[in-house]
Amino acid sequence: MPVWSILIAPLAASVLCVAGSSTAAIRRISAAGAAATLGMSGWAGCSVLLHGPISGGGLRLDALGVYLALIASLLSFAASLASGGFMEHEAQTENLGLNAWRVYYALLHLFTTSMLWVSISNNLGFLWIAVEATTLSSAFLVGFHRHHHSVEAAWKYVILCSVGIAFALFGTILLYYAGAKAGNGHSLDWTAFMEAAPRMDPRIVRLAFLFAFLGYGTKAGFAPMHTWLPDAHSQAPSPISAMLSGVLLTAAFYALMRFHAIAARCLGPAFPSRLFLAFGLLSLALAAPFILAARDYKRMLAYSSVEHMGLMSLALGIGSRFALYGMLLHLLCHALAKGLAFMSSGLILRGFGTRKITKVSGALSALPAAGVPFLAAVLALSGLPPFGIFTSELIILSEAFAQGRLWTGLAALALLGVIFAGLFYHALRMSFGPAREGVPRIPNQRPGFWEWTAPAACFIAVLALLGFWIPGPLDRWLMEMARIIEGAAYG
């Protein structure tokens, strides 16, 4: 099976959605396409884990890539299901025609395609094109509402991410130059770089890594280049926000992991590690006050994404194998929890008709289908024990102390405490208390069981499960990926 075949399902779904003749048909096509995507990724995952990496023609799927591919298809599947309710609501309130449905679903699957493409790119040039393609395909999804705010958000998103990514390309070109001088056969392949890394000129690689870090870091939402993130995440339709936060940031971070592996092999871990630690701490420090003072719950979740990306960056900076293990676990848990949080916040927005935290109360009793998953997801995000994020944060912080990074660990702990307080406070305010009059606004729009309730329940269950039990295969998988990021496994 060629590597690119995992792109077939989402691409076909995208094309078929354009041809869909009715809204119901488009929804069915989309659900089937997303399921097929997930199936293909799952199958590819099994094959990679059992038989080792598949490669060919600048493409390569290894344990790390397939992890990203699975997270992407999982969230894309959930988002595609949740989009039905969202679009129905939009169609009623905004008077959308069939064409809007076609465009929305086509772009959604195109967005998924581009993220899967990121996960299979071995050639760093392809990787760059794929990451840029994620921006371009999601630009109109972010600006879908056509309101002032969403156009503003879309503009900032495209401009900042494109310019950031340009610097990443500069880094890639410098790296290519260094690699070609070191005799890697004029190749842009990650594997070729890994092989040639010890011979490459460290001065050029340092520059290359710096630019790649700034570029992909912008897209991964590291402070202070994160300014596009809260706008885009809060203004995009909620299923899209879930994909942006759960997968898009992860995809950019994935690119950084690849560069980290090369840089660590050439320069030793000290230089990249300093960058990751500094930007990680900065992201945590910047997210904390914004979460505490949040007024808009979608923006609060967006800043929580900055926080979690910061935490993962911190873990990458600590760099020990167990810290990387924690980071990868965190990646999965964050994607699940944030996806859940954004999608349920979309339901709250629909029911309450407001983004203001102060105007939402009693979500649990008035809108249990939205309130319960929202509360669970935000509690998970704040790092409360029964959920997987607690485990991963525990691993990362204990590794910080174990590696002798006392002050980094203490600072991260303190900031996480502040963020915990903020998230906890806001989530409780929104969930409990008496509901306002006339809520939910459109009572006949209960989310369907298969479209929302079942996936949400699965997400919560998995999150809770990962809190106290990591299955053996996953454990081995995480270890394998940690070795890849360390630069120990690339063949």
């Binding site: 040039g125 371009l136 503003e152 879309a154 503009w155 390309l169 070109i173 004029h186 003072a293």
Partner: protein, 222 residues
């Protein structure tokens, strides 16, 4: 370098063209009206395309020739034409409206230029050719970024991004053995898509705000 060095006038011409690219970047920083900025961008793209062409004919490298032709067509002609169409269709005022004054943006540009050359200094010992190219590339990228930071109009920000991209083109040219063809074509295609996406967004900004002043795009805070 390669055994058959290109004739002196040719390398001198490439050097001259690269200086022209730098001058046109400063031109974009200092010009006041959008049509002039777009023309200066077109000049910059053509100059760089010509430089690529000269670099490709001695020794002959077919794929660089192809890329030079595509770059001239897309960046020198198609994109400027599209930008002109945008500013015509949204019928905006021609002024570029700076946040920072023109002299300050020029001097800032000189500072960024020096910074770029300083950053690339460690390279110049081992490979002066590549060091010069990368430094020029970084300069153009930073000037483009500086333009985006310093101007209010959405179209000027697009022009800034295009200058950044021209910097990348220079970077790809300075790798004397050339980037893989498929990647470079991918980049140019990508650029085209990006410009179209941004153009459509400019229309949307225009239709929702009745202005393409990005200063108004500041309602999202906190």
């Amino acid at each position: 370098m390669s055994a058959a060095a290109p004739p002196f006038w040719m390398s001198q011409a490439v050097t001259f063209l690269s200086a022209m690219a730098l001058v046109s970047a400063f031109g974009i920083l200092s010009l006041r009206t959008l049509p002039l900025c777009i023309r200066a961008y077109a000049v910059q793209s053509l100059v760089l395309g010509l430089a690529a062409f000269l670099l490709a004919i001695h020794p002959v490298r077919a794929h660089v020739l192809g890329i030079a032709a595509v770059a001239i067509l897309v960046k020198g002609l198609a994109i400027p034409w599209f930008l002109f169409k945008i500013i015509e269709d949204v019928s905006i005022k021609r002024e570029t409206e700076p946040f920072v004054s023109y002299p300050f943006s020029m001097l800032g540009g000189v500072g960024l230029t020096l910074l770029s050359y300083a950053v690339m200094e460690p390279l110049s010992g081992s490979d002066p050719f590549a060091a010069r190219g990368f430094a020029l590339a970084l300069t153009l990228m930073q000037l483009g970024l500086w333009l985006m930071v310093g101007r209010k109009k959405a179209v000027t920000q697009v022009v800034g991004l295009l200058v950044v991209e021209n910097g990348l083109f220079v970077a790809a040219l300075s790798v004397s053995f050339g980037m893989p063809m498929i990647v470079e074509l991918g980049l140019i295609f990508d650029l085209l898509v990006a410009v179209v996406v941004m153009g459509l967004l400019v229309f949307r900004i225009q239709s929702t705000y009745a202005s393409i002043n990005t200063e108004r795009l500041s309602r999202l805070k906190g």
